[in-house]
Symmetry: C2
Subunit: 268 residues, 2 copies
């Protein structure tokens, strides 16, 4: 996810509800990293009711990669537990539409696609713990460099659920060992945002052969005296769903998250 | 849940797999508190596939009361993530069968009742954190007295999911303020076993009017200098399901839990 606003970006409201209103009105379609600071942002996955069962089971069995923040009732576009007036058909800056597992379209509004059997999922996102790490003065290189975080497909099997199975995807942040220890402590307090790391040190132990060639996002250097620290990543459910090829699946576009009315401190 | 073995109880194996084999063979139908020490025990709820969707959504939205440890595939009696050879039709010491929300039978084996559309859920249980509290030398009065923990229906609404809604049920343990602080620290590390308390102090603030008259379990004294500490309780999903009156629902009998092959230290 891109973590800096493009040059010349408009001045944007600092509170979540105003920012969402602007997004709903079609006046902002960009990345949300760093916006509405303090408010939880969420990954969005929309599936038909039939696939939603498998997905609910998958999330329950793989909660580090898929921490569920909210689930809509079938056909209901509201996410009632994340704000009083969230409409998941219009409140995400940009959506990706997958048909049979293939990216078919990118759009700013999915009102025309909405169906009575759609179920919307909001999943916790690493922006929450990255904010907490930065607040603790732990530097994050990809953010300093304005890059997307480096993500890797591992050899770790997710627990299968119905038609959904596949490998865990992780994000990697290089840190000094001292900061790695503090990062474990801090992120363990955010189970709703991937929680504690799933690994640190030797990438080969989790099946990553080329740390300088991430499967998603951008590479960053690991300096002498640093170790890579790996967290379960929200790309996992998207990759698993794409592999299963449902007729239709809609997600947020990378970095263009749903901004909720929940404050980071309310997660837990 | 009763926390002492009845006098004259047989000597029971200390490892989970041997204890389960004995239970499966019909040679033990009692309470499991304190048995197979170190191994996670689980609440069991079995529903039809149709109700399982609502229940999965309810658990996702109310994870403190309903921490999901495993979900079977429809019709599959195995709980593959909790042990290699768990058969949920025979491995619980005693089951309760509810029809239309009413207790209809208690039995030691549900092979005859099993259906192709049954889904079994295993949910985390307070035995896990009670063990951690005792290991930290925090006394638990109900255990010292050989009583069931005191449980109360609160005024706190669960997040509704489909046909399932209702109030949160909590368990209460009296502690010194110092031990309450340590109990918060310790139990916050067990999100898969109800996690940190949801309240401490004045029971009226969460709608409990008579602390000496619990809605479930047994009352215990709160001594001078102690405060009551409240945790989300696994009775919540059972109460919510009973209110919704599904055609059939099968659970473990109180205190007669599923003993898994997972060690407490693997939860988290």
């Amino acid at each position: 996810m891109i973590s800096t606003l493009p040059p010349g970006a408009p001045s944007l409201p600092a509170d979540a509800a105003s920012l969402r209103a602007m997004i709903r009105a079609g006046r902002y379609q960009g990345h949300t990293s760093g916006l509405a600071k303090g408010f939880v942002q969420a990954n969005v996955v929309i599936l038909t009711r039939d696939w939603a069962y498998d997905f609910l089971q998958f999330c329950a069995l793989n909660s580090k990669a898929c921490p569920v923040l909210d689930v809509s009732d079938p056909g209901d576009p509201r996410l009632r537990n994340l704000g009083s007036a969230i409409d998941v058909r219009s409140d995400v800056p940009r959506y990706r539409v997958y048909r049979d597992g293939q990216l078919a379209a990118e759009t700013e509004d999915i009102n025309a696609l909405w169906r009575d059997d759609f179920v919307a999922f909001a999943l916790g996102c690493s922006f929450t713990f990255e904010q907490a790490l930065q607040d603790a003065q732990i530097p994050l290189r990809h953010i300093a460099l304005g890059r997307n975080v480096a993500m890797y497909r591992t050899s770790i099997d997710n627990r299968p659920a119905g038609r959904l199975s596949g490998k865990l995807v992780v994000s990697m942040r290089p840190m000094t060992p001292g900061n790695a220890v503090r990062a474990v402590e801090i992120t363990s307090h955010y189970p709703a945002a991937h929680g504690a790391p799933i690994h640190l040190g030797d990438p080969a132990l989790i099946g990553i052969e080329a740390i300088d060639a991430p499967d998603y996002g951008d590479a960053v250097e690991i300096d002498a005296g640093e170790i890579p620290v790996f967290w379960a990543c929200g790309v996992t459910p998207q990759a698993v769903v794409a592999e299963a090829r449902p007729e239709i699946c809609i997600t947020h576009a990378p970095g263009c998250m749903l901004v909720t009315d929940i404050h980071h401190s309310q997660l837990g």
